[in-house]
Symmetry: C2
Subunit: 366 residues, 2 copies
Amino acid sequence: MATPASQSTGRITQRPCFFGNPEKTKSSILSVGRCNNGGGRGGRNIRCANAVNGAVKINGKAANVRSSAAQPVTVDSDDTFRLGKFVEGRLVYRQRFVIRSYEIGPDRTATMETLMNLLQETALNHVMSSGLAGDGFGATRQMSLRKLIWVVTRINIQVDKYSQWGDVVEIDTWVASSGKNGMRRDWIIRDRRTKKMIARATSNWVMMNRETRKLSKIPEEVREEVLPFYLDRNIIAGDNHNPSPNRRIEKLTDATAESVRSGLEPRWSDMDVNQHVNNVKYIGWILESVPLNVLVEYHLTSITLDYRRECRQSQLLESLTTMSSTGMLSPSLCSGDLQSTHLIRQQDDKAEIVRARAEWRCKEHH
Amino acid sequence: MATPASQSTGRITQRPCFFGNPEKTKSSILSVGRCNNGGGRGGRNIRCANAVNGAVKINGKAANVRSSAAQPVTVDSDDTFRLGKFVEGRLVYRQRFVIRSYEIGPDRTATMETLMNLLQETALNHVMSSGLAGDGFGATRQMSLRKLIWVVTRINIQVDKYSQWGDVVEIDTWVASSGKNGMRRDWIIRDRRTKKMIARATSNWVMMNRETRKLSKIPEEVREEVLPFYLDRNIIAGDNHNPSPNRRIEKLTDATAESVRSGLEPRWSDMDVNQHVNNVKYIGWILESVPLNVLVEYHLTSITLDYRRECRQSQLLESLTTMSSTGMLSPSLCSGDLQSTHLIRQQDDKAEIVRARAEWRCKEHH
């Protein structure tokens, strides 16, 4: 079926699409974009005000967490409600959350976006609670001296069971080194009532100079700061049954994609601090090109997002999807598992922004 | 500036836009839509499965809350974390929430959508905690016998101060009669630290037969159930300084609207239980036609949403806006207060869905 997805009157005042610069990004741990200071689709300008100061590097903070200089922040009486706590000798940060009515999807369970939001929140509070984050958003001292930030390159989430409205989940998170010049952040989500692990996630980060935008090795001084505080515990290890989340994701093209959804446009309400699209939002755009029957009949059991490049232009996006079994594109044949491959790219120059791979399980069999 | 807001390739598989039926709606207290069982833009069908049972009427529940048969539900140890508590002789329900990193907007404060989500959550938990809601979603017995539900007709929120990430807010809610055949639900949002009221809201509801979709008087048996439990306390009363939130909202037309944003399309990720667009989402669509400089430079200090009719078709929407001062449409002249009028309508037949009126205050003066 081909129908115009969207039309515009001649009078609409277009707004630019903003993608944040990591050092200008407060609330997204996953941001790799670049804040667009000018132009925009509609020729409108907007300041990236308040952005240069309060520099951010969310997982710069993460790397911070266990610097030897770390001091617990002073807590007030509400902090036990607001924040989590350290466990396992301060190597693991643990926080509880309630799944809210507005965080569940059409199938009455927490959405993947909700889970990623909660992972982000836990990571941020991990750093907040560590006492290292001066204004809540700082990198380590040695990183700041060198204008270095962490940027996420990949995240993988595996979900065994989605929570429902009112369920309480308990999230553990910790960081570790990843290869010579990377950092890893892992999470476990447990059902608070059953204590069972219901989801787990891992993410990889590299160091970048926030001005040159070039990747950097981890300087020895930074390594010395953070290394003593890493916890070498890999929650998602590759094996035969569960291939490494790090394996390459095929790049979809117009020739190989089964479904292409164009004209995707960030809404104002998608913007977070500094007019930046939170990278969690990519999940929503990925789902936009997934066949409806898959969304209705299957659970998303795993998704890997592979952030390929900074988005340097404000512009429309396209979402491409290919399901592993084309038979599933016809309605109502829910059985077994499905795999899918996705690409979010810029619409005008087709530059890729995010590759993704997902796995789906039939809800009846779940 | 006129540029195409959105384009579509020929291959996109269109999804229908669903609007929930109140009795099929779990998580939106504000829903007045009708669930579309057929067609849709792309000619796709989707079942409104699991919807007929577990009938909902969110504020049917609200009316339930203080029926004389009410028994407190049994609480487990997590309930103090999950839920709120009754105060003032069980006439007021109070719950705390933490503002999360993903609930703040570009200006680093909780968005209006976030506030409305929290109001919804508090109302739902109010009913959950009352012990009257059998499966968590029931109307009073007398309402159920008559297939009656409550539907929201209007909500007004006034915000003095927006909370920031990590702030704890405390929300009070209660219900009261409204005229002969209506119900009112009010809310107060306080900053937990300062104890100051930072926002307040009121909403009006009428009774409807869920099968005929006709409005109904409140049957005497229902009135007897709910009346003893109402709290006659009006948090937003009209006066000279603060005109009644119930005054009529002008209907915008193509001739009177300064800005029209067409082609607004619900995303899959906008859907809640039963493939229904949560009415809180209308806020996002309203903001889509507000000039960017207003969004950037002003706080939304008040919004009234006037739900005009059930949305009977799955389809594209249009958002119309007129600011009270056209001078403000030119960039960077932030001063004083602004008023705005809005309309969300169906794109094809222009049938109005929501009228809205909003007030804005310059952030520098806030």
